[in-house]
């Protein structure tokens, strides 16, 4: 039996496209249990999008319904500096979504590259995140930031921890006036404040932004890394969707290096989010590096075209019609790939393309809808 893609929802079609994409780059699907010991999340609460977790007791152990996938993968792969694990997942997670206080089951697909991560693999993961967005929509943007650059700018400003938090908030909300006023209030060092301003207003093309930033010599390694990524994107013909945007800020206790978020036209929030999370590995007692991203499929339910008809044809048959005649007609139609509903009267709540009546053995078309 062959399947017609149109039977799948937009979300399902996206999942198949993404699985094929990740497999084509040598990522292996990772399947896991729905439950995990709560302890894993309790120790890394801030890594989670929401720290509310559904828990239950299982034979004396406190278990949780997985609110996140990355922590489980890190723990299971036991990363080191010599090996490299490349996995993707397609899992349901259970958490509260932002702005609401009820739990939801959210289908999440993503990939992780863990262990001996090098420049190529960083670029590969970024490229796959861009390709993932493209698999969702042609109109997509990947906002890329580098936490190394942000933390160097903060260090250069010589500000205290409270001001640091305020500055990060201003950066992430592109609040230039707020940033200037915090820097003034705490007498941040002018060079650092200038760099922070430049990061906040850097909305131009990656090339222009990198040239402007290159006057800060301390950023040389970050600029080099970003240039490498840019050249990989150019090679793949995806450079037009790459924006350097330092408003993408993730918790620096868990993330370092490149962090990124993806947007597609028609969805109001980020549909993809990821970054390099070496500090998480260190916190969990492992060595090596890690980078990955997740695609939030719950955001995609409003994408895709208008819903079509429920069935292609409604076949009206009066009572007493020979069931053999009906099934013969129906099977004839379904073998042509049509979806057929047999009914005595036109069903009111059903959307259909054609309305037909079976007169004896003959079918007569009564109505055709566009």
């Amino acid at each position: 039996m062959t399947f017609d893609d149109s039977l799948l929802s937009y979300e399902e079609q996206t999942i198949f496209r993404l699985r094929r994409l990740y497999q084509s780059y040598g990522y292996v699907q990772y399947q896991m249990s729905k439950f995990e010991e709560y302890d894993l999340y309790a120790q890394n609460k801030d890594f989670l999008i929401s720290d509310n977790v559904i828990t239950f007791m299982d034979d004396g152990r406190l278990m949780a319904l997985k609110p996140d996938v990355t922590l489980s993968i890190v723990r299971a792969t036991r990363p080191g500096e010599q090996t490299l694990e490349k996995v993707f997942y397609d899992e349901n997670v259970y958490r509260i979504t932002k702005g609401s206080d009820v739990f939801r089951e959210i289908r999440q697909i993503g990939l992780e590259c863990i262990g001996a991560v090098d420049a190529y693999h960083i670029a590969e993961v970024l490229l796959l995140s861009a390709e993932s967005l493209r698999a969702i929509s042609e109109q997509a943007v990947l906002n890329l930031s580098h936490l190394g650059a942000v933390s160097k700018a903060l260090a250069l400003s010589e500000v205290g921890s409270e001001a640091r938090e305020q500055i990060l908030k201003c950066l992430s909300s592109k609040n230039l006036q707020g940033l200037v006023s915090v820097c003034d209030d705490v007498s941040a060092r002018p060079e650092g404040a200038a760099l922070l301003r430049m990061l906040l207003t850097a909305d131009g093309s990656p090339e222009e932004t990198l040239s402007a930033l290159s006057r800060f010599e301390i950023l040389a390694p970050e600029i080099q890394e970003l240039r490498q990524i840019l050249s990989v994107f150019r090679e793949a013909g995806l450079d037009s969707m790459l924006h350097l945007d330092f408003s993408v800020i993730s918790d620096m206790n868990y993330y370092s290096g490149v962090v990124f978020q993806g947007y597609v036209q028609g969805v109001p929030g980020a549909v993809l989010s990821g970054g390099r999370y070496d500090p998480l590995l260190t916190r969990m007692g492992y060595r090596g590096g890690a980078i990955g991203f997740a695609v939030y499929l719950d955001q995609l339910e409003r994408l895709g075209g208008e819903e079509g008809n429920d069935v292609d044809l409604v076949l009206l048959c009066s009572r007493g019609t020979d069931p053999g005649d009906i099934i013969r007609t129906v099977r004839n139609l379904t073998s042509q790939g049509l979806r057929v509903r047999v009914a005595e009267n036109p069903p009111e709540s059903l959307r259909y393309g054609k309305l037909a009546r079976l007169n004896g053995k003959e079918m007569e078309i009564l109505e055709e809808r566009s």
């Binding site: 909300s173 947007y263 109001p268 929030g269």
Partner: protein
Amino acid sequence: MKNVLNIALPKGRLGESVYEMFAKAGFECPSVLEKSRKLIFENDAGTLRYFWVKPSDVCAYVERGAADIGVAGKDILLEYEPDVYELLDLNVGKCRMAVAGREGFRDDRRRTLRVATKFQHCARSYYASIGRDIDIIPLNGSIEIAPILGLSDVIVDIVETGTTLRENHLAVLETIFPISARLIANKASYAFQQSQIQHLQQQLALQLQSSKEES
């Protein structure tokens, strides 16, 4: 496909003066100011769509992408912490979030402080920052009456001129943060309509600059 910029403005005097700023910046849609029951207004070129919403709802419209940009008070942004860009302080609608209480009130730190407010999140984070244990009493209006009737020790609320407080023998005890209207943008819209949004932001910034120089 034509790119329409959807703009959510707060109903009322503030929204009207903000619209004047937008119009001066080249984002005109004269029908916005017509007195009618219409809710949505589009300019002749079909490139701009304005709508009036309750001030505290602007964030929801922008965060969820029904509006690409909007204007919201800093109080609302701090209370709801929507995931939006805060692009510009428009320097209008100025007031402050403050703690107020009966004239001569002294905080007895041996007791939990009872705080009546509409702004629970702001109140919680302010008192957490100074390590004060509080009991929040959520109210939706006429907050000033709470300390007078002994429902609460203090209130956390927006203070504009302070007249209502004075008339009720209340006084500002502490300013938590200053408030003004901000230009906010949906993050995805910003990614796709960056040049249009940045153009508006720059034009508004220029206006603010020149009015600052005049005064």
